[in-house]
């Protein structure tokens, strides 16, 4: 008792420290630190052959220190060093007008908008299909195999045709790109929700039967809440894939703007640092989107009385 009283003041005086130790901050920082270290090591390792070649071509004397320094500052490294990437991101976000086409945020926004549109349509479509599959035997038997087959079609191969066809019927702009996202993201939702809608226990379904509940009532009062854990897990995967889809979808539309266009342009001109910064922006976007879904999940599950 007294011991607790003694420690209490120290606890309250350094809330920042406590948050760091007990919260996520410190672990993330440490894990991040380890990753950075490994990254730097690889930077030197992967860029060294080219650098040594360069020294030999220029016939300069070099030391290990030179090598380490120079491998971290190449113009087109095999693996750019973290600070190069950070500097590039800084330069192309904060260092540039927000409306400029050279601003990474501008491209991130373009990609984000089609990601979100595609994700929303994809999730809705996925849920609808799952509902159909769970409620209609003919659909269960016939549609599911073809939904699966549809996912094995390499999207990048057909995306150009899809875009061309959509263009031909007058659809252009955001929607065709978003549809590529939809195409990729509806699948995890279908798989997850079919499982989720079927997860109620037999006795729970029996209970609804005794009330002679209609299909819709059984759905809304039993199947839907029972499937929510599956829904959120699926949505996390779907939103991440949706972003991949949006980036893929940018290519056949002429790759004019968006993170995908940045990636490709970086790749054509061998600008590794630009590729990596676009890659990081995309990954950060994904982390945020997945995080947002996670927050939604926690809020909904808390309201549904999940045992903490």
């Amino acid at each position: 008792m007294t011991a607790a009283a003694d420690t209490a003041p120290t606890r309250t005086t350094t809330p920042v420290f406590r948050r760091a130790v007990e919260g996520k901050t410190l672990p993330i920082l440490i894990v991040l630190g380890v990753i950075l270290l490994i990254w730097y090591a690889f930077t030197v390792h992967l860029n060294a052959p080219w650098q040594i070649d360069a020294y030999e071509r220029a016939e300069t004397e070099w030391t290990a220190a030179d090598l380490v320094r120079d491998t971290m500052a190449q113009e087109r490294p095999v693996l750019p060093s973290p600070h190069q990437v950070v500097a590039e991101i800084w330069k192309t976000t904060v260092g540039t007008r927000l409306t400029s086409k050279r601003n990474l945020f501008y491209h991130a926004w373009i990609t984000l908008s089609s990601t979100l549109l595609g994700f929303v349509i994809g999730t809705a479509l996925g849920v609808l299909l799952a509902v159909g599959i769970v409620h209609n035997r003919a659909m269960d038997k016939s549609v599911m195999p073809w939904v699966i087959a549809s996912q094995t079609i390499p999207i990048l191969a057909v995306a150009p045709m899809i875009i061309v066809v959509l263009n031909a019927i007058g659809l252009s702009g955001l929607l065709p790109k978003a549809l590529i996202s939809t195409y990729l993201s509806f699948f995890p939702v279908v798989v997850g929700m079919v499982k989720g809608f079927r997860s109620p226990e037999a006795f729970q379904l029996d209970l609804m039967r005794t009330y002679n509940a209609s299909g819709a009532q059984t759905f809304w009062k039993l199947r839907w809440p029972a499937a929510l854990p599956y829904l959120f897990t699926s949505m996390k995967v779907a939103v991440a894939i949706s972003l991949v889809g949006a980036i893929v979808g940018e290519l056949p539309t002429g790759a004019v703007s968006g993170l995908g266009a940045r990636l490709l342009a970086g790749s054509y001109y061998g600008q590794t640092v630009q590729i990596w910064s676009a890659l990081f922006m995309a990954a950060a976007l994904a982390a945020i989107l997945v995080g947002v879904v996670g927050i939604g999940q926690r809020m909904v599950m808390a309201r549904m009385g999940e045992k903490p």
Partner: protein
């Protein structure tokens, strides 16, 4: 054994004409991974309107299965059964019955009051009526004050009571109850027994009741069905001569003890061949 035929008459006379459940040669066999399990065989039984029928029998003898067949949750593999003169399915569609399951089976994502309101929502009661009924039935089972709790925050017995409240919240003419009071202590059980009898007398419901307690069966029922173990058969039907009005201390009366003894013997006979 009909020590008091007059009273017996009174308990069942208004109903004889109107059968609620009629089973003829009913049988049910489950197919399992290691061969068929015969759960029910050759059950002939008629339950009339207003009767209170208890089922008693060794564990695994098919009591639950029989209630489930009445409720159209299980399809018999032999014989036939009618509920209110209809097939079980038609009867279910008309919401002919309320069912209390052996396990509480509350939805974990609903609070207690939401759980009790579930059938009311489904049957389209108004919000106000829902509220009033939830309140009343939770009171009845002594759960006032726990409306906003989630099931896992309740003790086993409290969950069981919530599930009873759920079945009582709407007005079905036929109540099927599978060991509703199994997890309750004697005092609460006595209280709920009284309440149930009162409800039954007041509303003229027909009740099918599974229990393991011989005194409970005798105290509540107009008829007690004793079943034998696998395959479940009806081995004995005991008609209770007790009056409709039953104070708790009727349980010390000689008639009561006599019937209890008969049930016990029937049960023991059933266990013999287990």
């Amino acid at each position: 054994m009909n020590a008091n035929p007059a009273i017996r008459q009174e308990a069942s006379s208004p109903q004889t004409s109107q059968p609620v459940v009629e089973a003829k040669g009913l049988g049910l066999t489950f197919e399992t991974n290691d061969g068929p399990v015969r759960a029910l065989a050759d059950v002939d039984l008629t339950i009339n309107k207003g009767e209170f029928v208890s089922f008693i029998g060794p564990s695994g003898c098919g009591k639950t299965t029989f209630l489930r067949v009445i409720a159209d949750l299980e399809q018999p593999t032999a014989g036939e059964i009618l509920v209110n003169g209809l097939t079980p399915e038609e009867a279910r569609r008309k919401r002919a019955y309320g069912y209390v399951f052996q396990a509480a089976g509350l939805f974990p994502w609903r609070t207690i009051e939401q759980n009790v309101a579930l059938p009311l929502e489904i049957m389209g009661y108004s919000k106000a009526e829902q509220k009033e009924r939830v309140h009343r039935t939770l009171d009845l089972v002594n759960l006032a004050g726990f409306e906003k709790k989630f099931p896992w925050q309740l003790s086993g017995g409290m969950q069981q009571r919530a599930s009873i409240a759920r079945a009582l919240a709407f007005d079905a003419d036929l109540l099927l109850m599978d060991e509703p009071f199994g997890a309750l202590d004697e005092i609460v059980r006595d209280h709920l027994n009284e309440q149930l009898l009162d409800l039954w007398a007041r509303t003229g419901k027909t009740i099918g009741f599974v229990t393991h307690s011989i005194p409970e069966a005798v105290y509540l029922s107009t008829r007690i069905i004793v079943m034998s173990p696998r395959p479940g058969r009806v081995t004995d039907v005991i008609v209770s001569p007790l009056p409709k009005e039953r104070p708790l201390d009727i349980r010390e009366s000689p008639e009561f003890l006599e019937i209890a003894q008969r049930v016990r013997e029937g049960l023991r006979a059933g266990h013999g061949d287990d």
